[in-house]
Symmetry: C2
Subunit: 348 residues, 2 copies
C-alpha cells in the first residue's frame, strides 16, 4: 500500500482542471482523493477542514481559483475580472484566521493586475502557473525552515508538537515537522511527541499518522499531558506552526498552542514557531486584532463519537485558534533564518 | 425523569448487602445502577472507573469491604480476619494513585483492631456502620470545603474546573464543585467552565452533566482552551480536586491538572486545590514519591470512537494523573480551613 507521504497534499489535475486534495477528515482510516471544480465544493473543503493547515490552504485556494477561472465563460476582460473577483471573495470567506488564504488569493489577483494587456485565455494560463509556482515555493520554504530548525536541535532531542503542521498541512515537509524529516535524512533520531489536538484530533489522525508512516519515533498524547512529559525532562523543544503572526510576534495558531507555550515557559523548554514569512502579517499590529474563528459546538460534543459525549443543551466553547503572546515565544524559524521577532526579518 | 443529582453516587443495600453505585462509564446517556457483591466485580468497578473520584472510591471500597465481610463464612475470628485482610489487599490493588482507597480500607481494618473482643457477627455490623459513618463524614467534609471556598470567591466569578471533582466524585456536593452548589443555595451566580478532560471525558460526561442538571451556568471546553479563556479575563479562580497531596503540597490529580496550574500561573489566576484532609498523605514527602498509574493506550486511541482515531501501532502515552508542583498552588481548601501548605493544618 502506498504510504500517506507519497500522496500530494494539494495538487492540480491539468486535464480536468480540478483542485485535487486528500480528504483529511477521513484520515487515518481511509485515503480518499477529492477532485474539486465547483466554487461551493472548494469553499466547503476549506471550511470543513478537508484541506487544512495554513500553507496548504493557501495553495489549495490558488489552485481552486485557477480551476474556477478556467470555467469562466466570459470572453470580455472586464466581465472575466469581475467574475474572478467574486469567486476570490467567496473563497476568501471560508476561514478568517489563517492569513495564507487571503495572501494566496491576493497574489493570484495580482497576476491579473500585473498583466493588464493579457487576453482572458492567456490570463487563465498565467493564473494556473502562479498557483504551481506557489506550490513549488511552499516546498522550498518548508525545506529551508527544516534546515534552519536543525540549528537549535540536537540528535536525540525530545520534540513536542501540537496539531498538524506536517506534510499534510503543506505541500511537503511541513513547517513544524520539517526539521524532523530533514533530520531523519541526515541520520538524526528525534523522539517526537504529538498532542492529539481536540476537538478535531489533527495530532492523532494526521501528525502521528504521517510521522509513524515515515518511520519516525512518535508518541501520541492527549493535550493535557504535556506538563507531565516536561516534568520528566523528556522535552527539549516545542515546535509548532502558525496561522497568522502579528507584527509584534503574537501568534495565532490552533487552539491549545498558547497552553503549550505557557507550560513550556514554566518548565523552561524553548518554544519555537515555524513560520513561512507568508504567514507573517505586518498589517496586524498585535494578536488582539486577529479574528478568531468560532466553530460548531457539535465538533466537541458529538463529532467522532458514537453517542453524545455531554448532556444535550449544555453551552460549549469552541474557538478554532488562540493567540500565543510573543513573550512566550523563543523564536520564529522562517525560511530566511531564525528571528526573535518578525521585525528582525528586515535584517535577514 | 429523576435528576442525576437525586441519585446516591455510592450507597449500600442493607437488605442484599451490596455496594450500590451509578455506573459512571455510561453517563451522561444512561443512568445505570450497579449492585455489587463479588470482590472481582468491586475491583473492576474501581479499576474501570465505574466509580471514580478519590472520596467516592474511598467510600465505595469501605462499603465493598463491608459487603465482602458479610459473605465470609468463617466463624473463627482469626480465619475471618485473615480472609478480610486478603479482600482488603485485593481491593487496594485496583488503583495506586488516590490515597483515599488505601486510607478508607485501612480505616475499616482499624475497626477490627479497635474491637479485639468483638465476635465475627458483631464485627461485620461494626464494619458496615464504619462505612456509613465515612459516607456521612464525606458529605459533611464536602459541605465545609464548599463553605470555606466561598471565602475566596465572589458573586459573578468565572470558575474553571478540570475533570470531575463533583457530586459524582463524592457522596454529595463534590470538592471542587461544593462552593458552586452552596453558592447556588445562597443565590450566587457563578460562570463555571468545565474542561472536558481527555481521554475519558469526565468533564464533559460528568461535570457538565451534573452542573447543567443543577441549573448552574456551565460551559464545556476542550482541555486546550483554558489559556484562551484566561486571556479574555473570563476566569477568576481555578478549583480542582486531588487524589493525593504530598506533605510538601505537591498534588497528584487527574492528568492535565498541572497544565491548568501552569497556565493559571502565567495568567495570574488563583489556583486552589479542594482537599479533604483524608487526601493529604504526610507519609509521602513530595510529589516525586507518588506512584502515577499508567493506563491502556486504547483509552486514547479507540475508546468512545466509532473508528480508531490514530494509526495502528503508534505508541501512546496515557498516565491517569500528573503532579502539580506546590509552587503553582495558591491554597488548599480543606474542611478545616484554607491553608497555603499541608503543614499549616497543624494550626487549624
Amino acid at each position: 500500500m502506498k504510504s500517506i507521504l507519497e500522496y500530494e497534499t494539494v495538487d492540480y489535475d491539468r486535464e480536468n482542471h480540478a483542485l485535487v486534495i486528500i480528504d483529511q477528515t477521513k484520515l487515518p482510516n481511509d485515503i480518499v482523493l477529492l477532485s474539486l471544480t465547483a466554487a461551493q465544493d472548494i469553499w466547503d473543503a476549506i471550511y470543513l477542514l478537508k484541506v487544512r493547515g495554513a500553507p496548504a490552504i493557501g495553495v489549495a485556494a490558488a489552485f481552486g481559483l485557477a480551476a474556477l477561472a478556467h470555467r469562466i465563460t466570459a470572453q470580455d476582460k472586464a466581465a472575466f475580472l469581475e467574475e474572478l473577483a467574486e469567486k476570490k471573495e467567496f473563497l476568501n470567506s471560508a476561514r478568517p484566521t489563517a492569513v495564507n488564504l487571503s495572501w494566496a488569493l491576493k497574489r493570484m489577483m495580482d497576476v491579473c493586475h500585473k498583466n493588464p494587456e493579457a487576453p482572458v485565455a492567456v490570463l487563465k494560463g498565467l493564473l494556473l502557473e502562479e498557483a504551481f509556482l506557489m506550490k513549488q515555493e511552499d516546498i522550498a520554504v518548508c525545506r529551508k525552515i527544516g534546515e534552519y530548525g536543525l540549528d537549535v536541535l540536537k540528535d536525540g532531542d525530545g520534540i513536542l508538537t501540537h496539531c498538524n503542521a506536517g506534510q499534510l498541512a503543506t505541500c511537503k515537509y511541513g513547517t513544524a515537522t520539517a526539521s524532523i524529516y530533514i533530520g531523519q535524512e541526515r541520520g538524526y533520531h528525534f523522539r517526537v511527541y504529538a498532542d492529539e489536538t481536540r476537538p478535531l484530533l489533527q495530532g492523532a489522525r494526521l501528525t502521528a499518522f504521517e510521522l509513524y508512516s515515515a518511520g519516525i519515533d512518535v508518541t501520541l498524547l492527549c493535550d493535557n499531558m504535556s506538563a507531565s512529559l516536561m516534568q520528566q525532562g523528556l522535552i527539549q523543544a516545542v515546535l509548532v506552526g502558525c496561522d497568522r503572526v502579528a507584527a509584534n510576534g503574537d501568534t495565532a495558531n490552533k487552539i491549545g498552542t498558547s497552553v503549550v507555550a505557557a507550560v513550556a515557559h514554566y518548565y523552561k523548554v524553548p518554544f519555537y514557531v515555524c513560520a513561512p514569512t507568508s504567514t507573517i502579517d505586518f498589517h496586524t499590529p498585535t494578536g488582539k486584532e486577529i479574528v478568531i474563528e468560532q466553530r460548531d459546538a457539535a465538533e466537541v460534543s458529538e463529532m467522532w463519537y458514537q453517542k453524545p459525549m455531554t448532556v444535550k443543551g449544555v453551552r460549549i466553547y469552541n474557538p478554532a485558534f488562540d493567540v500565543t503572546d510573543h513573550s512566550l515565544i523563543t523564536g520564529f524559524i522562517t525560511e530566511r533564518g531564525i528571528v526573535k521577532s518578525p521585525v528582525d526579518l528586515r535584517n535577514c
